[in-house]
């Protein structure tokens, strides 16, 4: 009898520990921030920094959880299907607008209550500095004369940096030999080792090579020049209409209560616009680009439409 009593006592204790939650205002318990990428990368750093800053504002722990897989679809699907109570939010990268077109998961920006955009990372068209191509025009002229000869390394078929190379092809009428690598860093290593001729990845990935004089960035594919390499012109300046950028923001499941939504939007905004976060962007080579939920939704939907025309055209739909 005594043994049974001990077991019961422990069970009651355990259950009450879990069930413990009084009726308070939001937020009353820990918030989970689902991150679609592995620890250590740009998405992870942005998410964890913003989580830390939100924590100060909201007064409850905001804990980052990494759930990788299928270009972020695993994490984004998880957030989409979570309860819209404000206790599960997620980081949403550019793939939010891409995975439907790629056929990974049925996800669109409309499935979420977007909370705010944080950053923008343009694609940088990079070659070796001992290569004959001094400007983007040189490169395009060469590619036109030698179709499919130029070996373009990217970070994986269907990844944003592959799409960037495709967009370059599309707008300038050239043909490249796309060689996918397992992420951006191996592609840059292959460029340095002379195994590929050109890569289209983020400026921060090639920055050390640029600084040491081994690599040359011919153009960035953003709407504006990158703060990291301000001397390099955008493709638009060179007369090419290719605008491919990676971006990242925060989102919650659709249908948050009004009060919760406002609180989250406010804390995300404050975190992203803080000096700490701006500092991080500068150091990690990302362009700080806050947008409020309204603008962000418009932007993400435009991107969604753009990729849903471009990707099927490129024959990448699975």
């Amino acid at each position: 009898m005594k043994k049974v009593f001990v077991v019961m006592l422990v069970l009651v204790l355990v259950v009450s520990m879990i069930g413990c939650s009084a009726a308070q205002k939001y937020p009353k318990k820990q918030i989970t921030l689902v991150i679609q990428a592995a620890p250590g990368g740009a998405s992870d750093t942005v998410s964890r920094t913003v989580a830390g800053l939100m924590e100060k504002k909201l007064g409850v722990p905001v804990v980052g959880v990494n759930k990788t897989g299928a270009a972020g679809s695993v994490a984004m699907s998880y957030v989409k299907e979570s309860k819209a109570d404000g206790y599960t939010i997620g980081y949403v990268p550019v793939e939010l607008s891409m995975v439907k077109a790629l056929g990974y998961a049925d996800i669109s920006p409309k499935d979420y209550d977007l909370l705010g955009r944080a950053i923008v990372i343009p694609a940088a068209v990079t070659v070796k500095s001992d290569s004959p191509w001094k400007t983007l025009d040189d490169l395009i002229a060469y590619a036109k004369e030698n179709p499919s000869k130029l070996k373009a390394g990217n970070s994986g078929t269907g990844s944003i940096w592959h799409i960037a190379a495709c967009a370059l092809e599309d707008t300038s009428g050239i043909k490249l030999n796309h060689v996918p690598f397992d992420g951006a860093a191996p592609a840059v290593a292959a460029l340095l080792g002379g195994h590929v001729d050109v890569v289209t990845v983020s400026p921060s990935e090639v920055l050390s090579g640029v600084k040491s004089g081994e690599l040359r960035v011919l153009g960035v594919m953003g709407a504006e020049r990158s703060a990291l390499i301000p001397d390099v012109p955008t493709l638009k300046e060179s007369g090419l209409n290719a605008n491919v950028v990676a971006w990242g923001g925060f989102a919650a499941p659709k249908g948050l209560p009004k009060e919760v939504r406002e609180k989250l939007i406010e804390s995300v905004k404050e975190a992203i616009n803080s000096d700490d976060f701006k500092n991080l962007c500068e150091k990690r080579g990302m362009d700080h680009a806050y947008q409020d939920p309204g603008e962000f939704e418009k932007f993400a939907t435009e991107q969604f439409d753009f990729y849903n025309t471009l990707i099927p055209k490129l024959g990448l739909k699975k």
Binding site: A38, P39, G40, G41, A42, D44, T45, R48, T49, G52, V65, N66, K67, T68, G69, A70, S73, V74, S77, L102, Y104, A105, S148, K151, G156, T157, G158, N177, H178, V179, P180, F181, D182, A185, P186, V188, A189, A190, L192, G193, G194, H195, V196, S204, L207, S208, G209, K211, S212, E214, L280, K283, R284, G285, L316, K318
Partner: protein, 497 residues
């Protein structure tokens, strides 16, 4: 600043205390299966931002080195590699524990991990640039040849039956094809499930096969009269004898070089290096039959290899700004957070910091030496606990560890299936080594074969026109053919008698 000043700077308590903290945290994380060195560094990185760069890096360097070292402890004590880099450590480590030589196994793990770490740190100090240049020569064709070279070891890790080894190894290769294909990203065998797109993750499989599989095996073979895993409660000596050290010298010297180079090659890390070194040690050994049955040569070489990789990986990271492995990818992020862009300019602009970084590598290994040797006695206490308690802890930690990796329930399921398979593989004399090898190298081999052919536009000549590729492929062919010839000769002699 000169080296001496820098040494006194990093020895200052305000820096060295973080190094010691890092080492201790690393030991904790490294021993827990499922918590990897990458995770340890990633989790600690945000905590280091309020520190000075040398303090922060003292901690991160300490964690990285000691987590890899500590992965061997759980491989030796409970046959569950704490990190993937310690897979090969479990081949011989646990067998030594069962033989009652657990003290020696832990001693060798400590001493040779430190030797590997120190050697690679010195390479980092002396030859960072030439080594990194060499590593860049590795393009898709070379990676493919490296994978083939690795796969050619399937035969020598096949234990009793080459047929079973090859069969299970090819199954490992087949499983590695599940997920989005590495070139075109078209889904293979995912059946529309997004959780399978990334493929079957390696670490849950490893934890299941080694951890749960081993426990189930022990439950089945349980002798009620024996209380703990070890036959008796003494740990034996910790230090190897001078004769043993001499015997280990040639193979470990070669392993040091192999592991540093492997570390410097982006994308090839401690898991691959330690298997390669285990295999080459076996080939050089006078007693190859002891390998897998508790050979100190096998153990020492794997322990040396996984720590020897670190200096190599750091070399590529510091000189080129390209990660040599997953951990250094995270470290690049931390360097950038401190406003330092890794690359050749770092050696000019932050010369002092680079020197501190190198000395911290050396010091971390010295701290590990003390922690490891002092801890050897302590960690053996684990084995004196009743075996049922160890079983329960392993069964729980395997579930949690596989979940913690990616917060993925699918990984937990994969782990438990692998665990049950691990039991049957053990009972049916299917060696685990080839399976692990297949899963580990399948993607590397396949993606680089196709990538190389994409570069050469379909011409296979890319594999026979590059010196590194040719050397690796010849080595692969030799390591397949020689054991077969030996086997054949053995059979012949048996028939004659």
């Amino acid at each position: 600043m000169e080296w001496l000043d820098i040494l006194s700077n990093v020895l200052h308590p305000s820096v060295s205390v973080y190094l010691v903290i890092g080492v201790l945290v690393g030991v904790g994380i490294g021993t827990l299966p499922g918590l990897t060195a990458t995770m340890a560094v990633a989790i600690l990185t945000p905590l280091t931002f309020w520190l000075q760069p040398e303090q922060g890096f003292a901690m991160l360097i300490g964690v990285y080195n000691s987590a890899i070292f500590a992965g061997g402890i759980s491989a030796i004590l409970i046959n569950t590699p704490g990190t993937p880099a310690s897979i090969a450590t479990s081949f011989d480590g646990f067998a030594m524990t069962r033989k009652g030589e657990v003290g020696l196994a832990l001693g060798i793990n400590t001493i040779y991990s430190v030797i590997g770490g120190l050697f690679s740190s010195f390479v980092l100090i002396i030859a960072a640039f030439p080594l990194a240049r060499f590593a860049l020569k590795f393009g898709p064709a070379e990676y493919f040849a490296l994978a083939i070279f690795g796969l050619s070891m399937m035969i020598s890790v096949s234990e009793k039956s080459i047929l079973k080894g090859l069969l299970i190894g090819t199954l490992g290769l087949l499983i590695s094809t599940i997920g989005l294909d590495p070139m075109l990203s078209s889904p293979r065998y995912t059946f529309g499930n997004i959780h399978l797109m990334e493929g079957i993750s390696f670490i849950p499989v490893m934890i299941g096969l080694f951890g749960v599989g081993e426990v189930l095996h022990q439950i089945f073979e349980n002798d009620q009269k024996v209380r703990s895993i070890m036959a008796d409660n003494t740990i034996g000596r910790i230090f190897p004898t001078l004769g043993e050290v001499k015997r280990l010298l040639p193979s470990t010297a070669l392993s040091s070089v192999i592991s540093v180079v492997t570390g410097a090659i982006p994308g090839a890390g401690g898991d691959i290096a330690s298997i390669i070194c285990w295999d080459q040690a076996k080939r050089m050994s006078k007693k190859p039959e002891e390998f897998g049955e508790g050979s100190i040569e096998g153990l020492a070489n794997t322990c040396l290899a996984n720590n020897g990789v670190i200096g190599g990986a750091m070399t590529t990271m510091l000189t080129l700004g390209i990660p040599g492995d997953a951990v250094t990818a995270v470290l690049i992020g931390s360097l950038m957070m401190y406003g330092m862009q890794p690359g050749p300019r770092l050696f000019v602009e932050h010369a002092d910091f680079v020197k501190r970084f190198m000395l911290l590598m050396v010091l971390a290994n010295i701290v590990i030496l003390f922690v490891g040797l002092l801890g050897a006695k302590l960690s053996v206490k684990i084995l004196k606990v009743k075996k049922e308690i160890i079983w329960m802890l392993v069964l729980l930690l395997c579930v949690i560890g596989s979940y913690a990796l990616n917060s993925s329930f699918v990984d937990v399921v994969v782990m438990s299936v692998a665990g049950i398979l691990g039991f049957f593989f053990r009972k049916m004399e299917f060696p685990l080594g080839p399976f692990i090898l297949g899963m580990l190298l399948g993607r590397l081999g396949e993606s680089n074969l196709r990538r190389a052919l994409a570069l050469s536009q379909g011409s296979y000549s890319i594999f026979i026109t590059k010196p590194i590729t040719i050397i690796l492929l010849i080595a692969a062919i030799l390591s397949i053919v020689i054991p077969l010839i030996k086997e054949f000769n053995k059979k012949k002699t048996v028939q004659i008698h």
